[in-house]
Amino acid sequence: MSFLLQRSDVGEFRRRYRWLVLVVLISFLGLIGRLVQLQLVQGDMHRAQARRNIVRERYLATTRGVIRDANGRVLAANRPSYTVYVTPSKLDLETTWPKLQKLLELDEEERKKLDERIRRVRAEALAPRAPGEKERRTEQQLLLQYDVDRDVVAWLETHEPAGVEVAPTPVRYYPYGELAAHLLGYMREVDAEALARLEGRGYRAGDRIGAIGVERRWESYLRGQRGMKKILRGLRGNLSRENVEALEAKYLEEPRRIEPVPGRDISLTIDIDLVASIERAMRGQLAGAVSVIDVRTGRILAAFSKPSFDPNVVSGGAGVAAAVDAFKRLMSDPLKPMLDKNISAAYPPGSTFKPFTALAGLADGLIDPDYEVDCRGGYQYGRRFFRCTGVHRHVDLHDAIVQSCNTYFYDLGARISIDRLAAIGLDYGFGIKTGIGINPEAKGRMPTRAWYTRRYKEAFRGGFTLLSAIGQGASTVSVLQLALAYAAIANGGTLYQPQVVRSIETSDGTVVQEFPPRVRRMVDVDAEHLRLVQKALEGVVKDRRGTANKERLEGIEMAGKTGTAQVTHVTPRGVDPEKVWYFNRDHAWFAGFWPARAPEIAIVVLVEHGGGGGKNAVPVAMRVVRDWIKLKEKRLSAQAAPGAP
C-alpha cells in the first residue's frame, strides 16, 4: 500500500486513508467470514433445506378394502368420483367460466353464489401487494362441484382449461343402501380427537375413517397404506416432459415412489338377501330390529334395525352439504335411525324371558312338568294383585309357556329369589356384553336384590321378583342377546360369541385370516329340562292355544315365544303430543328358532311399540324364515348345478 504514503497535497485527508482502507477490509472480510459460515460450515444444512424447498411428497391414495356378504355380494366398495376445483386467479371468466356453468348444469342460485365467490377471491388474489405485506397465496382454490358427471370429466380432461382442476376422490359406495347399514357402518372425516389418538398411524387431516359398525371395528384392516410420490415444486408452465424428468432425476432422492398397499377385504357372515327379506317383512312397521343367527356357530346371518340410514349419503357420497343435512335429520328423528337396535339398545324382554324363569324353576326343583297353577286372571301377592293376560285355569309348565300365562310365573316368582333369576339370565348371556366387537353394546340389565336396594334406597319388595319372572320390571335385554340365548336353548346349551366377520382376504382373494366359531360358555342345564322348554316353545306356534298359532305359516316348523313388553309411560323429548300414544304402546317380541326339531337358526323380532307380540312380531318372523328356506334351496340347487359360478 505504498501509494497511501506518496501524495500529500491534500494535507488533512492523508491521515484518513489508512483508516478508510482498514474499514473497507474489515467490512469485506466480515462478509467473507459469513460466507465461510453459510457455505462451508453450514453448507450441508442449507443444501438440505434448499432440497426440502423444492421437493414435495405427494401422497398416493390407497383403496379401502371391499366388504362382502357370506355369498360374495359386495356390500361396501369404492366408487371413483371426481371433484372439480377452480383457481379463480387463473380462471378465464369470459369463456371457461360460462362453459363450466353449462357443463355442470348449475342452477341460477348456485351460479350466482359461486360467481360472486370466484370474483371476490380473484379480486383479492390479483390486487397489488401493499408495502411490507407478505407473499400472498394467489392460488387459492374453490370447490365447484362434487361427484361430477363422467362426460364432464372427459371434456375437462381433453380441453384442460386454465384454472380448472379435476381431482379424483374415491367415495365409499354401499350398493345396498340402507340394508344392514348399522352393521356395515359408514365413513366420516377424521376429527382432531381421532387424529391425536391415532398419531403415528399415518392419518392426516381430511382422511376418512370408518365411523361405526364393521367399517370402524376393522378400520386398520380395511384402510390399507397410502403410497408416496416425490415431486418438484415451483415448476410452472411450459416445461417439456423431458425437461421435467431430467430435473426430477437430478433433485429427487430415492425412493422416489412408494406404491400404496390396498386394504384387506372382509367377508361377513351375513346374507344380504336375508336382510332384504327382513326389510320387506318389516315394511308395515315403523321401528324395530331383527336378528337372525346360526345356532350352530353363533354367526350372524342377518341384522336389521329400523329405521335405518343411507351410508352413502352420510359418508359424503352426495356431497358434504347433503351429509350434514342428513345427520341433522337423523339425529332429531325420535325413532332414532342412527341407533343400532340389535346391539346398542336394551328393551324389557317381556314374556320371551319366561323360558329362562322356567329353566331356573326346574333346575331348583321349585316346579316339575306336572306342577299346576290355577290361573283366575291374576295372582294375589300381599296387598297387590298381579294381572294375567287372561283366565287360563289349570296350567302346567307346557301350557303356561304355550299360552304365556303370567299367573304360573308369578307363582314361581313368589317362591324363587330375584338373584336366582338374574343368575340364570347371566348364564344365558343377559346383562353382559356379547363380545360382538362392533358398535357400542348395550349390556341390558338383570336386576338383583342389591341393584334394587341401591336404586330405590328402600326395603326390597317381593313384587319385583314377580315382575322379573315375566321379563318385566327392571329387566332389559338387547335383541342380539335374546337371539344368542334362544340359540343356546335350541342347540342344547351352547352360548356362542356372535360373529360378523367370517374371514379377511387380501385384495386378490387370498384368505389371510379366518374366524372359527367361538363358544362363550356351555350352560349347565339338564337336557331333559331343555327338551321340555323346547317342546313348549314348539307348542307356542303349533298348539291351537299357542300365542303364535294364529300367525303361523303352513309348513314352517318354528318354535318360539311371543312377548309383549310394557313400556314405561314417558314422553320422549321433541315428540308431537298428538303422537305420544305411539311411544306408549307395548313392544312386540318374537324369539324363536327353526326348524323346531333340529334347529339351524335363531330369530328374534322386535317391533318397537308394535303392540301385541303374537299379532305383530310373529308374522315378521314367519315371513323371514319362509324366505330363508327359499334362499337356502336356491343356494343348494345353485351349488349342485355343475360349473355354476
Partner: protein, 372 residues
C-alpha cells in the same frame, strides 16, 4: 503502476484497473441477471423477465456513454456546477411527490415517456459533488466543531428528508453514510463528535417511534429474530441465506441454483442478485465478487490519495463510499447480517437508475484519476 500515469499537463490517461474491474463486474452482473431471469416459469412470465435482461443491457450502454461524457469533462467544472445540480436535484425530488408513480406504496419514480427514473439515485452523485465542494472550500486546519459542519449537515438533511418521506429507507441511509464517510475526512473536535454521537443515539428511538413505517420496523424486528416470522418479512432473508449456503464451495453451477430457479428468491434480480450469484458459483464465486468490490472501494481511496486537490479527493472518497456502502449493505442483507432494506448491489442489480448512477460515479472516479 506509475509508468502509465502521466501528469495532467501531458494530457489525460485512462485508469486501466478501474475500467477492467468495472467491466468485469458489469459483465458478471449481466451473466448473473441472465441466470436470475431464467427461472422455471411459464412463457408469459419468462417473456417479462427477458425484458428485464434486455433493458439492463440498454441501461449499461446508456450508463457507459454517460460515464465517458462525465470522465471527459474536467471535474473542476463540476465543482462550479454543483450548486445548480443540487438545486435541480432537490426540484426533481419535489416533483416525485407531484408526478411520482407508486411502486409498492412509495413514490420514487418520475416517468418521462417510456422511461422512468429515480431522482433519489442521481441525487447521490449530486450530494457527493456538493459535499466535495463544501470540503474543498473549507480551508480550516483546526478540528471542526458542529457549527463548522452545520452547512454540510444542511446539505444532506434536505434531500434526506425528501427521500425519507417517499418513503425510501435504504436510500436515505445511503445518503447519511456517504455524508459521514466524506465528512470523516475532516478532523472533528472530540467534544463535537461525542455530542453528535449522543444526538444520533437519542434520535434512534424517536425515529423508531415517529418516522419509521410499520413495514420498515417489521424488517428490523424480523432481522433481529428471523425465526419468529418465517412466512412474513423474515422469509426473504431466510430464503436468501439458504440459497447462499446451498452454493457450498463451488456452487450449483450457472443457472442451476435451485433456490433461484424454483422461485424461492424474491426480487432475485434487484434485491438479491448476490444470493443468485453465490448459489450458482459458490464460496469461490462469492469471494471473488466481494474481492472485486473491495478492490473498487480501495482503488477509489487510492485515487483520492493521488488527487491533486481536495475536491477531487473528496469526490473519489464520495463515489468510493457510495459503492462501498451499497455493496456491503446489499451483501450484508443477502447473507443475513443486516436487515432487508432495498439497497442495490452496484453494477449488479437490475435497475436503470442504479446502474446509470453507479456508472456516472465510475466516470467521476476516472475523471479524478486521469487529472492528477
Amino acid at each position: 503502476m506509475r509508468t502509465d500515469r502521466v501528469s495532467f499537463r501531458a494530457g489525460p490517461s485512462v485508469d486501466m484497473p478501474l475500467i477492467v474491474v468495472a467491466v468485469v463486474i458489469v459483465t458478471l452482473g449481466l451473466v448473473n441477471l441472465y441466470s436470475a431471469t431464467s427461472v422455471y416459469v411459464d412463457s408469459a412470465q419468462r417473456a417479462r423477465l427477458a425484458d428485464v435482461y434486455v433493458s439492463q443491457i440498454y441501461w449499461v450502454v446508456v450508463g457507459g456513454l454517460l460515464a465517458i461524457v462525465v470522465a471527459a469533462i474536467d471535474y473542476r467544472h463540476f465543482e462550479r456546477l454543483a450548486n445548480f445540480l443540487y438545486l435541480g436535484g432537490l426540484l426533481s425530488l419535489g416533483f416525485v411527490f407531484i408526478l411520482g408513480s407508486d411502486i409498492r406504496g412509495s413514490s420514487r419514480w418520475i416517468e418521462i415517456g417510456r422511461f422512468a427514473f429515480q431522482p433519489s439515485e442521481f441525487m447521490k452523485i449530486v450530494l457527493i459533488l456538493m459535499l466535495a465542494r463544501f470540503l474543498h472550500n473549507d480551508t480550516r486546519t483546526e478540528p471542526r466543531t458542529i457549527g463548522h459542519l452545520l452547512p454540510a449537515i444542511g446539505i444532506v438533511a434536505v434531500p434526506w428528508a425528501a427521500v425519507m418521506a417517499q418513503p425510501d429507507l435504504g436510500t436515505s441511509v445511503i445518503y447519511l453514510l456517504i455524508a459521514v464517510s466524506m465528512l470523516s475526512m475532516n478532523k472533528v473536535r472530540r467534544g463535537s463528535l461525542l455530542a453528535m454521537a449522543g444526538t444520533v443515539a437519542a434520535a434512534v428511538p424517536l425515529a423508531w417511534k415517529y418516522v419509521l413505517r410499520d413495514y420498515q420496523k417489521a424488517r428490523v424486528t424480523s432481522f433481529l429474530d428471523p425465526e419468529a416470522d418465517k412466512t412474513g418479512t423474515g422469509w426473504h432473508a431466510l430464503q436468501s441465506q439458504t440459497a447462499i449456503g446451498n452454493g457450498q464451495l463451488f456452487g450449483e453451477g450457472f443457472m442451476q441454483g435451485t433456490q433461484n430457479q424454483f422461485g424461492f428468491l424474491p426480487d432475485q434480480y434487484s434485491d438479491f442478485p448476490f444470493a443468485v450469484f453465490a448459489e450458482d458459483w459458490g464460496f469461490v464465486g462469492g469471494v471473488c465478487l466481494i474481492a472485486l468490490y473491495a478492490f473498487l472501494s480501495i482503488w477509489a481511496i487510492h485515487i483520492a490519495s493521488e488527487s491533486k486537490d481536495r475536491f477531487g479527493a473528496a469526490v473519489a472518497i464520495g463515489v468510493g463510499s457510495m459503492i462501498f456502502w451499497h455493496s456491503v449493505l446489499n451483501i450484508g442483507m443477502a447473507v443475513g447480517l443486516l436487515p432487508v432494506v432495498g439497497i442495490t448491489l452496484p453494477l449488479f442489480s437490475y435497475g436503470g437508475s442504479s446502474i446509470v448512477t453507479t456508472l456516472i460515479g465510475i466516470g467521476l472516479l476516472m475523471n479524478v484519476s486521469m487529472r492528477r
